[in-house]
């Protein structure tokens, strides 16, 4: 990782010697915008992640529910969310649906949209986790005399949680990146702020490089943590 960074830096510096006039000063004077945007991105992503976990869990369970309309509803929700681009969902949801319901706060709407988007993918992760528990284990638990609740509490959930934590962490990283699309409805997150700085300073590379680095600062630790979790919880059934 260190080697990689050093190499990149080396290349950028030799590049700059060539003929590119860097405008770092102009961009540096806007550093407050970068910081604010970065913090807003973190806040929105975290809030959306929390809500999406609830939505994802509810949907995963709904898909296994004996009550058929509930199952159907869950399927429809998932097909729509996973079959359309997030950008389209944001535009429709904010300018059509939220408007019809009179919800004006675009930050709230943005968080809800992100949560609904991630929720569909999370429900798949959870469902796969639940179904990965071998039938025979549940048999074993039954034979011991555990009640249904006990089986969920002591056998299914501990294993499901270990199973889904790595992909969930990955989903969180995706959410952070996807939050950049909220710039389209003027949510003042990281990407929009960088774009504004670019608009004022005309220094595109100098505005967008910190943007990329800022996102990496968030997603890299998550992906490393996710890999560590995977290793820890890997065991043969």
């Amino acid at each position: 990782m260190v080697v990689f960074l050093v190499l990149t830096l080396l290349f950028w510096f030799s590049f700059s010697r060539l003929r590119f006039a860097w405008g770092w000063d102009a961009v540096y004077s806007y550093r407050a915008m970068f910081l604010n945007g970065w913090l807003v991105t973190i806040a929105i992503s975290s809030a959306a992640m929390g809500i999406s976990l609830v939505i994802g869990l509810a949907t995963a369970l709904a898909q296994r529910a004996p009550f058929l309309p509930l199952r159907y509803l869950a399927r429809v929700y998932m097909e729509i969310i996973r079959g359309t681009p997030l950008l389209v969902q944001i535009l429709i949801f904010f300018y059509v649906v939220a408007d019809a319901f009179g919800i004006g706060n675009r930050y709230l709407v943005g968080i809800i949209i992100l949560a609904m988007f991630a929720g569909a993918y999370i429900s798949e992760i959870i469902r796969a986790g639940i179904e990965s528990i071998a039938e025979t284990q549940l048999e074993s638990a039954r034979a011991i005399g555990f009640t249904r609740t006990q089986i969920y509490r002591y056998v299914i959930f501990p294993q499901v949680i270990r199973q889904v934590l790595p992909p969930l962490a990955g989903q969180f990283a995706s959410l952070i990146k996807d939050s950049s699309l909220l710039s389209i409805i003027s949510v003042s997150e990281f990407t929009l702020n960088a774009q504004e700085v670019n608009a004022f300073t005309f220094s595109t590379l100098e505005s967008y490089l910190p943007l990329a680095i800022g996102y990496l600062l968030l997603t890299l630790p998550i992906s490393l943590w996710s890999k560590r979790l995977e290793k820890r919880f890997r065991y043969a059934t």
């Binding site: 284990q137 039954r142 034979a143 005399g145 002591y154 065991y235």
Partner: protein, 249 residues
């Protein structure tokens, strides 16, 4: 010691089908004093089904079963109570992979049988050392060999002081070395006098260890009774043919 474990088993007219497939057809058995019962027969003869019914995991379509005067009922609450009084060991995947060997034994004691955590742990450690597994107490199933896993599973079944032990082909998934360590353990349990029902392909073992034998064929009980007698003189051609095949090599 024998007196405590005395177990009467009556099975009359029990049938069970899965869709079109008839697993058990009118099974009748009478044992006034079960000791080590071996359930034998070719594949698909209904041995596992019968065992699972006795374990409280399936409900027969028809018929009656009484264990020491207790009639097996189809009510879920009753079955829960029944399962807790019976210890079952399956062919594989008995243990919970996210728990240590110790926890696998002590958790049911705590949560199902109301032991205090310290008592449960102490009892679990006791059994583990009795089965020569104390060094493995803190290992997860992934770190144990097949034979060790099965022995922990047996410890778990024994820990609850069951009135009946059921084994569904406990060594079929093991290689010969590990098979022996598990069979040794079962033989030990039989020495203690615990009533146990064993579905197995290890006919040699059954010959040595079983007190009683039940021979199933296509869902019906063709022969049952004293082990020695049946092995020496099988009365039905099916059993004779079966024994001939399995004991050939």
């Amino acid at each position: 010691m024998r007196k405590d474990f005395a177990m009467q088993l009556n099975i009359s007219g029990v049938s069970k089908s899965y869709g079109d497939h008839v697993a058990l057809a009118d099974v009748n058995l009478r044992f006034s004093d079960i000791r080590a019962v071996a359930l034998l027969g070719p594949s698909g003869s209904g041995k596992s089904t019968l065992l699972r019914i006795l374990a409280g995991l399936e409900i027969p379509d028809a018929g009656d079963i009484t264990l020491n005067g207790d009639r097996l009922q189809s009510d879920e609450n009753w079955l829960l109570y029944h399962r807790r009084s019976v210890g079952t060991v399956f062919q594989s995947f008995n243990l919970f992979p996210h728990l240590t060997a110790l926890k696998n034994i002590s958790l049911p004691l705590e949560k199902v049988h109301g032991y205090l955590p310290d008592e449960a742990t102490a009892l679990a450690m006791q059994l583990l050392s009795r089965f020569q597994l104390s060094g493995h107490a803190d290992k997860t199933p992934a770190q144990l060999s097949g034979g060790q896993k099965q022995r922990v599973a047996i410890a778990r079944a024994v820990a609850i002081k069951p009135r009946l032990l059921l084994f569904d082909e406990p060594t079929s998934a093991l290689d010969p070395e590990m098979t022996v360590e598990v069979l040794d353990l079962i033989a030990e349990l039989r020495q203690e006098g615990r009533p146990l029902l064993l579905v197995t392909h290890e006919i040699g073992f059954a010959r040595k260890v079983a007190d009683q034998v039940v021979f199933l064929h296509e869902g019906k009980v063709l022969e049952y009774g004293n082990a020695q007698q049946l092995f020496e003189q099988p009365s039905t051609p099916e059993m004779r043919g079966f024994l001939d095949k399995v004991l050939r090599y």
